[in-house]
Symmetry: none
Subunit: 209 residues, 4 copies
DNA sequence: GCCTAACCGAGACGGTACGTCACGTCTTTTA
DNA sequence: TAAAAGACGTGACGTACCGTCTCGGTTAGGC
């Protein structure tokens, strides 16, 4: 669960609870239904609320009660599909970076995450709201982790002092992104993460090392 | 005009011409209309054929007569919005790469190209057809040019012999892509292209240089 | 209270009472709420159960617990709105008929009864159940009273022997109905009842009288 | 075709015709479909636009294009169901009145007209718009004809000079209305029209006749 | 200078999905 | 157990587009 748990559609709860509570089972059924449809290759354009409701065996109103938009719904789908943050070994900046990039590679390959993200990513970019949510809860934190690793690398001498860490980070992440988005022919082969990290670190390592 | 000029909707012309020929003015009006709508910030979801027809002062059938899909229409819109390939100075691999990356940066900034591409890029990825057309006529050729420049750089000693040119290319293009897509907060500031090229080349230059 | 008191929704009471008894105040609040809505000119189509519940500050289930249908509820609303049967003077058939018709005229004028009945009458006719209940408990008894008065008129010589009393009754009631339903422009002016009775009686009185 | 032919939904026709003209066949299919549903005993509450469209094999928009309301549609259904005005013999006021009342009786019996009118009449009364249209084009003209016949009856001595013709008309029409609306058990037997007319005329004929 | 075929605008057509609302049933907590 | 609150599946509402189809009215050759 990487995405923030702040769902806006929740009724203002001043009083403890009033009336029949919302069924969590229904909530899961809807999100699982969307994932199933995406995995089955249904084009995004055909992912109508009506079809989602039909698939989940649920009334349309039940969906609108929870999410005001298809966008809002997709934010929760992303949240459910998002893999956990990887655990960093901490042995060296190089090892941490490999783990981070490897998790990025895995995400590009993993069937569920890949199918869902690859499709929804597209929708995200065209929707400021959904993109903002995804950026704030997934992209930015991941970047912060990467920057922190690089900073530690500078401290312990693995990385040159005069390097622009922002640019270095982009040089690490960039190739993975290029191959995922622009070059679907390029295979995200095993060992790719190590090669990228080593190539970048070799160029930017302190001369005296 | 970078995109292929093969439009499938042209009527099978066995006889020279029969009846009134199609008006090129109408064609331009439609494409210009779509661009105007995109530039005006109309969300992609609201770009209905009906609205496009209304904007261009044109009948729906006139659009469907030319393009079978909204996708097909968008391919032509991309073709019209795509800037020319930049001219390479040829003085050195470094200079050529800077020009290539600078043109990439410009595209990310240019109002028209940016607005249109940034919006349509998204749709592209969700549409195999439109993405295939864009990849074949824009992405792949640009990459080929970049690879050729790098190869020449290897020949004249600007680039190490043992480097993976594919990966090097991605390390050059990647940061630009990361900043355009993932980090809209990051400014594509002037001089960025030079900094990227120099950083990568410095790390991967022959030791004896 | 003219309408039969047989409400079907009463729970089968074998044991004296179990649990919390139903609140009569709630019952009144619901019926009063419906009347208020009708008097306020709310169109019948907008008289949803949900709105009735909201108006009365009551849960929907509380309504469904008492009445299975909106129709059943309306029967009770009619019952509450129905004026008492008039008291007949008994001095003569003519006087009794005037009183009967006058009460009919009053009903057509009275704000509450009129608004409610005029609106609900319509719904009645489209609903066999509600119409049957209204006919059995209001229309038929009133007609029986009228027929009885006419029969006494025949006996005491106010009405000719050879007349079709059924038809005569319809000739008395008919004009009032015509003016209520077909000619809303026609005023139900004071003295109308007397004029109708006298006109009909004059034509059908024994010649030797 | 007794009802006025002024349909409000017709597009403002300043220019001769623009675009594809509306299909009259579709229009007929819709109206016929509604009649069929009513005759088949479908409750009025179940006569949804969606069902009407399904029955007629027509899109919902095609209905809304012609009629803004279900009410407006029903006005046209009434228009199509309304029988022609009867032709008056003109031999005497008595004969004319018999023909008028007989046509009223027929309407109450005729399967199509009866089923449709009896059901829609109800809806009419709850809808000021539809009732106004029906009153203006059916009820009022018929009444005018009846009044004219009575006036001629006064002139040629069939009817007393001092009688209130309005009231007399209601005494003629009233019994028919009572038996149609209030007493569905009462049969509209053959010869009923003659009996009513004769009974009323006998009472109100000039004494010297 | 006609003829004729295709184009053009407009908009009707059968559909599908939208987001809202009411239906009648159900499942909570509170009294 | 009643009562309020409100979630639930269902389905109609009226609107907007979809992509196809007619219309009347151009607008170009080719005869």
């Amino acid at each position: 669960m990487s995405l923030a748990d702040s769902r806006p559609q929740q009724p203002q709860q001043d009083c403890p609870v009033r009336g029949r509570p919302r069924s969590e089972a229904v909530e899961r059924a809807i999100i699982e239904g969307v994932m199933k449809l995406i995995e089955d290759g249904v084009p995004l354009a055909d992912l109508s609320i009506e079809r989602i409701a039909r698939t989940a065996g649920v009334g349309k109103a039940t969906i609108y009660r929870r999410w005001s938009d298809k966008e809002d719904l997709f934010i929760d789908v992303l949240r459910a599909a998002e893999p956990e943050d990887p655990e960093l070994p901490g042995t060296s900046a190089r090892d941490d970076l490999v783990v981070l990039l490897e998790s990025l590679r895995q995400r590009g390959l993993a069937s569920r995450s890949s199918a869902i993200l690859h499709n929804v990513y597209v929708q995200m970019k065209s929707s400021p709201k959904i993109w903002a949510a995804y950026h704030a809860t997934v992209v930015a934190p991941r970047r912060r982790i990467g920057m922190e690793v690089l900073r530690r690398g500078q401290e312990n001498g693995e990385v040159r002092q005069d390097v622009d860490l922002d640019l270095m980070n982009d040089m690490l992440v960039g190739p993975m992104l290029v191959r995922s988005l622009l070059r679907p022919d390029a295979r995200l082969e095993e060992g790719l993460a190590e090669r990228i990290v080593d190539t970048v670190l070799e160029g930017l390592r302190p001369v005296s090392s």
